[in-house]
């Protein structure tokens, strides 16, 4: 079921923005593909969670953030790093465990962060980042800035205690947070309704939040919804809740036996490839040419090739750095 590519307010989004989003989404897609390759080559270890299929969520929502706004998410975190503008080279280096990695090879795939861009990571414990998001927002509120926090989470993670305590505190204290659920239909192999007793928006009401549901395959819809949510936060309407309906095209992580869903189901969702939807919009509505877009793809490919080469050629951390950063004051 191919989607309508430009309804309502989405029509007014300028082409240059759309082209930039296209570039970002292609970058994320290609980044994840090279991660997969490097993992096969044994150059990336540990757990590796790909974002392929969900690109519109990170790109659309982060495009709506202001300069004082923060981003934090779980372990499926490569896309958010790229969307805040982090160079893919130190990210790939991190995944390869190199000294030049964004976290000096300490964190790996699940712990990317770029504090210089107010991107706080990247957390592997389900739900563990949610109270951190409340805290990031608390600091902004304490300093009386207009800064807000975009906190991303999976559908499955809404069932852990952290979710409850974090959203409730945000509600009670009016913390400037937009809670964004990336509902990709599964938590590992568990379908959302096998794990959640109620729809996401009903959960939101339990914290005094209205909640909005949006098509997470449409970068434009996500962008507009995130923009509205941030407006409300800044207007003093308290924390907001945004559910993005999306799907991960690949397994939960590398080596997922994929017993829990059918090929047909995956195929159906792939028809809604968020990049494909945006591509159609650009060509059918904005008058972009296939060549124009292919050129972007090629630029990204070159950028990724350079990133992989940089990571590959970078040194591993010195053994004598093992004890660095345990404490600030050593």
């Amino acid at each position: 079921m191919a989607k309508q590519v430009a309804q309502g307010r989405a029509k007014s989004i300028p082409k240059d923005l759309l082209l930039d989003w296209y570039r970002q989404m292609v970058l994320i897609r290609q980044f994840e593909q090279s991660c997969s390759e490097q993992y096969q080559l044994g150059k990336i270890g540990g757990f590796l969670h790909l974002y392929i299929g969900q690109e519109a969520v990170a790109v659309g929502s982060i495009a709506a953030r202001g300069e004082n706004d923060h981003v934090i998410t779980a372990y499926r975190d490569h896309a958010h790093a790229l969307a805040v503008g982090t160079d893919p080279a130190p990210l790939m280096a991190e995944l390869m465990g190199k000294a030049t990695g964004i976290s000096k090879g300490r964190g790996g795939s699940m712990h990317l962060a770029d504090v210089s861009r107010k991107y706080w990571g990247g957390y592997a414990v389900v739900g563990g980042h949610m109270p951190l998001a409340a805290g990031l927002a608390l600091a902004e509120q304490y300093r009386e800035t207009d800064g807000a926090v975009l906190c991303y989470m999976g559908d499955g993670s809404t069932n852990i205690g952290y979710f409850h305590e974090s959203l409730n505190l945000a509600g009670v204290w009016d913390l400037p947070v937009v809670w964004i659920v990336e509902n990709n239909q599964y938590g590992m192999g568990t379908a959302v309704d096998r794990a959640s007793a109620a729809p996401m928006l009903d959960k939101a009401r339990g914290y005094g939040m209205e909640g909005v549901q949006v098509d997470g395959m449409s970068v434009c819809d996500v962008y507009l919804a995130a923009q509205d949510a941030l407006k409300k936060v800044r207007a003093g309407e308290g924390p907001q809740f945004l559910e993005c309906i999306t799907y991960r095209f690949e397994g939960h992580s590398m080596g997922d036996p994929l017993r829990y869903r059918t090929k047909d189901e995956v195929a159906k969702w792939r028809d809604d490839d968020p990049i494909g939807i945006l591509e159609r919009r650009l060509i059918e509505v904005e008058g972009s040419t296939k060549e124009e877009l292919d050129e972007i793809d090629d630029q990204v490919e070159a950028e990724m090739a350079a990133a992989v080469q940089f990571a590959d050629e970078s040194p591993f951390p010195d053994f004598d750095t093992l004890f660095d950063h345990i404490f600030v004051e050593n």
Partner: protein
């Protein structure tokens, strides 16, 4: 006797006990449809159905607490933490509830359950996902804490744990799942409160368990080539802790090295050293050495992580130091 992996041994123990007692059931994240993230319960969902193989939401507090309540009310849950790192979220449910309810209510209730939890470092999972935190659970009275080092022990101890009327934390080290060992066809149980000598030797005593046992046995092989005969004592049971065999061995060798995969500071080894000098003071020839994880959150980068972990060479060096 067949040589099977520890993964298979644990899986067999679960299946046998579920066939033996219909009050035994499994609950946890991805234990059913997925088949267990370490494939320990693969096939169980089809064999036993959703009633006895329950997929849970990502809710460790209620996994631990509901297993406890169900056990209080007469059934025998085997609750799985996908990894022991996630048991941290359920820490209160485990040590303040499951472990204390029998005592706190004067014996009115019992809590016959097993918490299974794979753990360990060395797989580049980063600082939050690589714990071997066994000691912090073993510190508290009321919870039996065991961690086997061989397929034989894993099967016999898990079966004993499932039949025990006490709450048992059964810690599996993920690097051991592939290890093979002899396991008899016929049924057997291994007690939950007895250490065992896994290798005899007269020169030095190594006290260890789980992944530490694997590493120590490799070290012992090497040392034997140099004519150094190491006696390896496998604690297996951390709470209650059986120091008998370690003390007996030490009284024979007068020298000891304690090997564990977890952090050394306030680790299992500290208690072992303290008890050896308490109970075999007159036999101490040289300082007892500890080989353990360095005091650093485990980094992701492979070699850097490895440099923080135990390995045969570190054990060999320690043994030579005490000789």
């Amino acid at each position: 006797m067949a040589r099977i992996t520890m993964r298979q041994a644990i899986s067999d123990a679960l299946r046998e006990e579920m066939l033996r007692d219909e009050n035994v059931f499994i609950m946890g994240e991805e234990v059913g449809v997925w088949g267990g993230t370490y494939a320990v319960t693969r096939g169980f969902y089809d064999e036993f159905g959703p009633k006895r193989v329950k997929d849970t939401p990502i809710s460790e507090m209620v996994i631990a607490g509901a297993a406890t309540g169900a056990a209080m009310n007469g059934v025998r849950p085997v609750a799985e933490f996908m990894t022991i790192n996630f048991a941290f979220v359920a820490f209160d449910a485990i040590v303040n509830h499951a472990a204390k309810i029998h005592y706190m209510f004067g014996g009115q209730m019992k809590v016959p359950l097993v918490f299974r939890a794979p753990g360990g470092g060395g797989r580049q999972l980063g600082a939050t996902h690589s714990h071997t935190p066994d000691v912090i659970f073993a510190h508290f009275p009321g919870l039996r804490v065991v961690s086997p080092g061989t397929p034989y022990d894993a099967k016999g101890m898990l079966k004993a744990a499932i039949r025990s009327d006490d709450p048992v934390l059964f810690i599996e080290h993920h690097t051991l799942y592939q290890e093979r060992g002899e396991v008899p066809e016929e049924e057997y149980l291994v007690p939950l409160d007895q250490a065992e000598v896994k290798r005899e030797g007269r020169d030095v005593t190594i006290v260890t368990y789980a992944e530490g046992l694997r590493v120590s046995m490799m070290a012992a092989e090497e040392l034997a080539k140099e004519g150094i005969e190491v006696e390896v004592v496998d604690l297996r049971c951390l709470q209650p802790l059986d120091m008998g065999p370690a003390i007996a061995s030490f009284k024979k060798t007068f020298k000891a090295v304690v090997v564990e995969e977890g952090h050394g500071t306030y680790g299992i080894g500290a208690e072992v050293v303290a008890q050896l000098q308490e109970h075999a003071f007159d036999y101490i020839d040289a300082p007892i050495r500890r080989v353990a994880q360095k005091q650093v959150p485990l980094p992701y980068s492979r070699e850097l992580e490895q440099s923080a972990l135990i390995n045969p060479q570190r054990v060999i060096d320690a043994v030579k130091e005490v000789l």
